[in-house]
């Protein structure tokens, strides 16, 4: 926590800002990238969104009041950027966001940067059938192994609601996988 405070004060100091920001990116780039990637699935789109997320973080760092952890705040920005991107893409293709996500999951086989096996591909397709919030909760809990309290801070909700979402998501995925067998 003290490290985060030191980093924050360096980010707000014009003399140290660049160095501190490079350190911040270096620390969090991989975790944020994988979070974004699991939402938008494509590497190129994830790369764009990761960059936009960091630019947004840099430009709004003065507005960060420290009400939550710095990482939770960045995670929230990344989530918003990724979902905004999906909504725009769905609007452009004139399709529902749920249809778009399932179509994207079906196209994963042809993706140069997806080398998962049959089970991994089926799991991604199953996740794509979930409502948006359940997808986020499942990805953060199952793949990123985040604690409920941290997820609650990112998604601005209660731990109880998160647990319920996660349980529903797991049950739906289980049913989907059973159907595919």
């Amino acid at each position: 926590m003290k490290e985060e405070e030191a980093l924050l004060s360096a980010l707000k100091d014009p003399e140290q800002r660049e160095r501190a920001f490079r350190e911040l990116m270096s620390t969090y780039k991989e975790r944020l990238y994988w979070h974004i990637r699991k939402i938008v699935l494509s590497h190129d789109d994830s790369d764009d969104i990761l960059q936009n997320t960091f630019v947004k973080v840099f430009r709004s760092i003065d507005k960060f009041k420290g009400d939550s952890k710095l990482f939770s705040w960045m995670y929230r920005i990344a989530t918003n950027e990724a979902i905004t991107f999906l909504n725009k893409k769905a609007k452009m293709q004139q399709v529902d966001i749920a249809d778009l996500q399932y179509k994207m999951a079906e196209n994963l086989e042809a993706d140069e940067y997806f080398d998962g096996d049959e089970a991994q591909l089926t799991l991604q397709k199953a996740v794509a059938t979930l409502p948006q919030k359940q997808q986020l909760v499942f990805n953060m809990k199952y793949f990123d192994e985040m604690k409920y309290n941290d997820i609650a801070e990112v998604l601005d909700t209660t731990v109880g609601a998160l647990k319920s979402s996660y349980h529903h998501a797991v049950k739906k995925i289980e049913n989907y996988l059973k159907k595919m067998d």
Binding site: R22, Y33, K38, V55, F114, G116, H167
Partner: protein
């Protein structure tokens, strides 16, 4: 069973989240289900992606200053007074001062005059075209004679009170009688279609 939990909690001073024991079974069941799910997502990234991933961001945020290579002294843009070396430079040579009034008269006055004349002509031309009182009667007579406008007698008298119309006879009585004598009027009235 519940009392046992409570007494244990009271004795040890440890605390539990609300509803912990009620949710425990569900938590375990969910974990058992997810054991059958693959743990890896299957996504990959291009080689060395993470070593270069933030370069475009740094270029975007900090790159412009480095690209052109110019730097300015610290606090340069926050100066409120002109530095003494610049003030001295400005006082060394004599400079020719042109008053703004003279500059304006020389550069813009001819353009302003030309524009005023053009506007004057435009509006005057328009007024002539729209006001009948300014048209000479001779002109109107000429237009009527040349069939440039068509007005009937009553319209002319209504507009121009000073105009006198002279009655002009196109046929005399003899010509009319001769025409009627040579023409079968009955036939015209009964059989032939009448042109309007």
């Amino acid at each position: 069973m519940k009392n046992e939990h409570k007494s244990h909690s009271t004795r040890s001073n440890f605390k539990l989240p609300d509803d912990y024991f009620n949710q425990l079974e569900d938590e375990v069941m969910i974990k058992l289900i997810t054991y059958s799910f693959p743990k890896k997502s299957g996504f990959s990234v291009p080689p060395l992606y993470f070593t270069k991933a933030t370069e475009p961001v740094c270029e975007k945020l900090f790159g412009s200053e480095k690209r052109h290579g110019f730097v300015v002294p610290a606090g340069y843009f926050n100066r409120t007074e002109i530095p003494t070396e610049i003030q001295e430079e400005n006082t060394v040579g004599k400079t020719k001062v042109i008053p703004l009034k003279n500059f304006f008269l020389k550069q813009f006055a001819p353009i302003a005059v030309a524009a005023s004349l053009a506007l004057l002509l435009f509006f005057n031309y328009d007024r002539v075209g729209t006001n009948l009182n300014n048209i000479a009667t001779a002109d109107i007579e000429q237009w009527i004679n040349e069939d440039l406008i068509s007005l009937n007698d009553s319209e002319i008298l209504e507009v121009f009170a000073d105009v006198e119309l002279t009655e002009e006879q196109y046929f005399d009585d003899e010509e009319v009688l001769e025409y009627l004598g040579n023409t079968n009027v009955e036939l015209i009235l009964l059989d032939e279609p009448v042109d309007e």
